[in-house]
Each structure stands twice: as structure tokens, then as C-alpha cells.
Symmetry: C2
Subunit: 109 residues, 2 copies
């Protein structure tokens, strides 16, 4: 079993969330050990809300659940990649992805 | 101009790096304001190395540069998404992506 390195981030690791079908990156959230275990058990993406300081079942209030199909871990064990089927929209704004804006300077890139 | 929220992460924001052509997620790294400005200026992905505590031009030693084609920002301004053309491999192990392992439990997902 691969040990997830929760230490580096004070108990949290970032989780990149990607649409399993299109490859679109939907959002980034944070997981502690409990939320990762819950995600594996329920197959519904569950995060740690840094603003509310509580376990956060994505979709619990919005019904925009994320059905987790695969979880990968990076080479140094401190970042997760979730491939999900997204119900509705990932973003609280109603957009499908939280990444819907290019930053200033994109026109010169 | 969109203000990147560097405060929440003590001066750093996570940057998800994605292959611009295939959509594959390659790695996650961290940026401070200086590394983001350098990335925009040079169009070569430049991060802040948390282990070495210094600016890190990806590819400076390995020649595995990342040519940045687009930078997006998420809804709450604290995470970046870089779409890049990757020279060689993103991972220091020689793998193309740092996410080459599924975690324990993947067989039940």
C-alpha cells in the first residue's frame, strides 16, 4: 500500500479533479486521511473544507456529486488525482469547471 | 486584471500542469508571485521549490522544459492551471506524468 504523505501539508493533500471522459480539469480541493478513506468507501468525492473546517461530501447540498472512478498519486506521494464522473457542475458558480478564466497576460503567451 | 490570492497559502498557490494536446495531468507544483511573473515573461514554467526554497525553472537541469500555452485561474483565485507543451518527461523518474500509480483500493472503485 502506498502511504499518502499528509505530513507535508499539515494533514492535507491537494486533490486535482479531472473529468474521466474528457480529461477536463474541474477543480482542486483538499483531502485529509478521513476524507480519502470516505471517498474510497463511498466512491463519492469527499474533501476537507478549509473554510468550514469540516468534512465535505461534494454534492451533499447541490446534488452535484462526483463519482470517483480512479485515484492516482504522484511520485512523491503528496498529491492526488481523482478521475470522476461529474453530476451537474463542479463549480459553485454553475460552470462545469472552476477553471473558466485565463489570467492577465494570456494574450502574450 | 484578476488578483491571484497568494495569501491563503502563505505566498504560494498550487499550479496544476496539463498537457495542452492530450489533456493528461502531468504534475502539481507551487508558484509564488515572482515565479508566476517569470513564467508569463519567459513562457517557460517556473515554480517555487518548497524543498530547496528557491525559484525553479522546470527543465533548467534536465532540459525537460514546459512551454506554457495558457494559464487559467480557478473561481476563488487560489489555484492555477497551466496548459503546456512538455519537452521530454515531466517527472524526475523519467515517466511522462508524475501520476503513474493508482493508490491502494483502486480495484474496488
Amino acid at each position: 500500500m502506498i502511504q499518502v504523505d499528509f505530513e507535508k501539508g499539515n494533514g492535507l493533500v491537494p486533490a486535482v479533479v479531472q473529468d474521466v471522459h474528457t480529461g477536463q480539469v474541474l477543480m482542486l480541493a483538499y483531502m485529509n486521511e478521513e476524507s480519502l478513506q470516505k471517498t474510497i468507501e463511498t466512491k463519492l468525492a469527499t474533501y476537507w473544507s478549509r473554510s468550514r473546517n469540516e468534512l465535505w461530501v461534494k454534492g451533499a447540498t447541490s446534488s452535484h456529486y462526483q463519482h470517483v472512478k480512479e485515484i492516482l498519486i504522484d511520485c512523491d506521494n503528496d498529491t492526488l488525482l481523482l478521475k470522476v464522473e461529474q453530476d451537474g457542475a463542479a463549480c459553485h458558480t454553475g460552470k462545469y469547471s472552476c477553471f473558466y478564466r485565463t489570467i492577465e497576460g494570456e494574450e502574450i503567451l
